[in-house]
Symmetry: C2
Subunit: 442 residues, 2 copies
């Protein structure tokens, strides 16, 4: 197909680029080996990841693993691993997956230098990263030459529709998962076609299913360790989006699936007329952004959005939709059916023949907006809401919401409501809420 | 107790009045016997009810039963029974309980002339009214002389708090049930005290409980027929009100329990300020009153009120309270948290991996106030409400509500909302909704 050929041309490294990368990788491997040897621990050095597998896109990350013998303690491995990385990469930062590694630059390429244990079998693994060299070897030995382009297409497709990457920010498909899918179904198009039959709970495998059952949206048994689900990070929403986008692409292929246009935030006029048509109102909660890496931050942000929605719902506000935006601070925006509720609400009490009915009468006889009255044998009252206004509720009760633990620490929040929310500054946040166009739609 | 002595003096017939009633009853019995004898069917005539039991209040109904041998057919009994009644009572009307009887006037007293079968045992009864002579005999032989005043007090108490009468309009305590309660507990005060321990499902008896189980709020096994619950017509609410009023009376006795002040309907200003404080709104539905006797009308009216509430709730309106008023027409009034909802509402669709997701997309892609979007793997959309305004909903959809069957026939309704409802004419209806003072409260 011409379209896919065109895309492939755009995303595959040119021979020159490939050569340049190989040169940089070789010099980096040599340098790493040299530094590793200095430790006298019998360390090995190995290129893993998409460059090793030749499935990388134009600007790959270089993943180099420093393999430690199992006799080295975990503390030592971390200390030595970091020390080596820092000696090699001039500009660098420590990062933490399951354990620390060094991220930096080499010849203008992004590099991860990761210490791990050299094990003979995945059954013996001591940390999650120990599996990576096995993944690399598996793909190197099972992915056919002509499938490498198919992987590249699939990666770019996933990237274009916003589901590429297993990190918490995306909760999408890892590169390895996409490689397995191509091996499973043969090529890019076959993967897309196959996805029409996927459902929540679909379980796939290459080397036979494992005995372990996963209660995750989508399961791909790891061919190098069938007790593991390669798709464990995939959210139901990314799964759904992939399935939907695939069918949409097959019906009407377009480069926009691979290279979506950059969206401009919606104009305030557009936002205003959308809200007018719906008769709904907006509530904005802005909080301090805690100093966390994305993998820790995004789960907390999502939990906080859910917590704010739950707080509003439990106080009778009807939430239509919600969105968050991570910038220098954290913003949450909620679309509500009404921003201000009636002060009076129906409140049911105990049946009149119950002992403690008198405490209900005493309480509501004073506080009620009506006298307590009997209905179907039960006491009822028109009770006053403490917080009929959504912004007031959030200002006073946010601390009771189920927020992310680090977000909770910075409780001072700015709360805006209604027309106050419609500012230039908030357009990106409001677009995250209101612009429901798919990435490939014009 | 002086208070109760005073009340008893007011409600008991004076010796003169008692004598006058006895005279009227004797002449009516003689006249009825005379007319009955003309039929040559061996009919007997019997005084039953509160006059026969000497538990009547100042203005009693006279209940005279014409007892037919069991050999007479049901049709014949009805025809002959009505004919006799019409010959005796100048001003009269036919009425229907389980079967027809004649209601009219004699010497200025209200009279019911009721044909029934003369049976030897309640096990052989052919219609519900056949039991009445047995009830009369039971009370005559078991209620002690000094308890008659206690019954009168209890009847007046029940009347004062609005729970006297088993008819559908009231759903309260029948005279017979109150007599049984006095026999059970001894006197007026003991009944009130005992009620503190009553609960939903309390079962009482004088001659031992029957084997039949009743799923009714309150059970008193009929001493003349223990397969019957004397309290079968009692609603949970009348039960609750009796229990509550009893305890309130015992704590602070007052003539107001027996003789409540007539309430004036609330002033419109008062109504307006109550609603302002609550921030709620009113919806009025006025319908034609079908030509039914009260026993058939009231159940339908209550069912209709429930049906209107259910219709509103199922369209997201939050109903705080509702009331009806029966006059020349039927009026229903609902207090709602909001009279107009947002046009947009959240609408959940199928998961994206379900076959029929496409029909959701097709439908809402056109009709939606947003594009369909994915959330947690499910399709969602901001859908437009067809009837965001409560009055519009009722105008268009009232025919779908679970109304009383005869009320449903006259569907043309007047529907008013908000300030439109606050008229002089509607004050009684609005007071039925908003004036929650107990009858004995000032």
């Amino acid at each position: 197909m011409v379209l896919e050929d065109d895309v492939l041309k755009k995303i595959s490294p040119t021979p020159e680029r490939r050569k340049a990368i190989q040169g940089s990788v070789n010099s980096l491997l040599a340098r790493t080996k040299e530094e590793a040897d200095k430790e006298g621990l019998g360390l090995r050095v190995s290129l893993v990841g998409s460059v090793a597998k030749d499935t990388f896109l134009r600007e790959p990350d270089i993943d180099i693993f420093i393999l430690f013998p199992e006799t080295v303690s975990r503390d030592r491995l971390e200390a030595v691993g970091l020390a080596i990385g820092k000696r090699i990469l001039r500009v660098h930062e420590e990062r933490y997956a399951e354990h620390p590694y060094v991220h930096g630059e080499w010849d203008g390429l992004e590099v991860d230098l990761v210490p791990c244990y050299q094990i003979s079998d995945t059954a013996l693994l001591r940390s999650a990263v120990d599996r990576t060299p096995f993944h690399t070897k598996y793909v190197q030995s099972h992915l056919r030459e002509e499938q490498k382009g198919e992987v590249r297409l699939l990666k770019q497709f996933a990237k274009g529709i916003g589901v590429y990457g297993a990190e918490a920010k995306v909760q999408g498909f890892s590169g390895y998962l996409l490689e397995l899918l191509v091996m499973k179904y043969g090529n890019f198009r076959e993967v897309l076609e196959a996805s029409a039959a996927w459902t929540r709970g679909t379980a796939l495998s290459l080397e036979g299913e494992g005995t372990k059952k996963f209660d995750e949206p989508f399961i791909f048994y790891d061919p190098v360790d069938n007790k593991r689900n390669v798709a464990s990070a995939l959210s139901p929403n990314c799964l759904a989006l992939f399935i939907f986008a695939s069918q949409a692409y097959l019906k009407g292929p377009s480069e926009l699936f691979f290279f979506p246009r950059q969206r401009k935030p919606l104009e305030l006029d557009v936002i205003r007329s959308m809200l007018d048509e719906r008769g709904s109102g907006l509530l904005l909660v802005r909080m301090e952004r805690p100093a966390l890496i994305d993998d820790n931050l995004y789960p907390q942000v999502r939990r906080s959005l859910d917590g704010i929605c739950a707080l509003l719902s439990s106080h009778d506000f009807r939430v239509i939709d919600g969105a968050y935006h991570v910038a220098e601070d954290l913003s949450f925006v909620l679309e509500l059916e009404e921003l201000v509720l009636s002060r009076g609400r129906r409140h049911s009490g105990p049946p009149a023949w119950i002992e403690n009915a008198s405490s209900f009468l005493e309480r509501w006889g004073k506080k009620g907006l009506s006298r307590p009255f009997l209905e179907g044998g039960h006491w009822m009252v028109v009770a006053p809401r403490d917080h009929p206004s959504a912004d007031d509720l959030i200002k006073v009760k946010l601390y009771t919401a189920a927020l992310g633990s680090d977000i909770r620490k910075h409780m001072a929040a700015e709360v805006l409501m209604g027309a106050e929310v419609l500012t230039e500054e908030n357009r990106p946040l409001l677009s995250a809420l209101l612009d429901k166009r798919m990435s490939w739609e014009v």
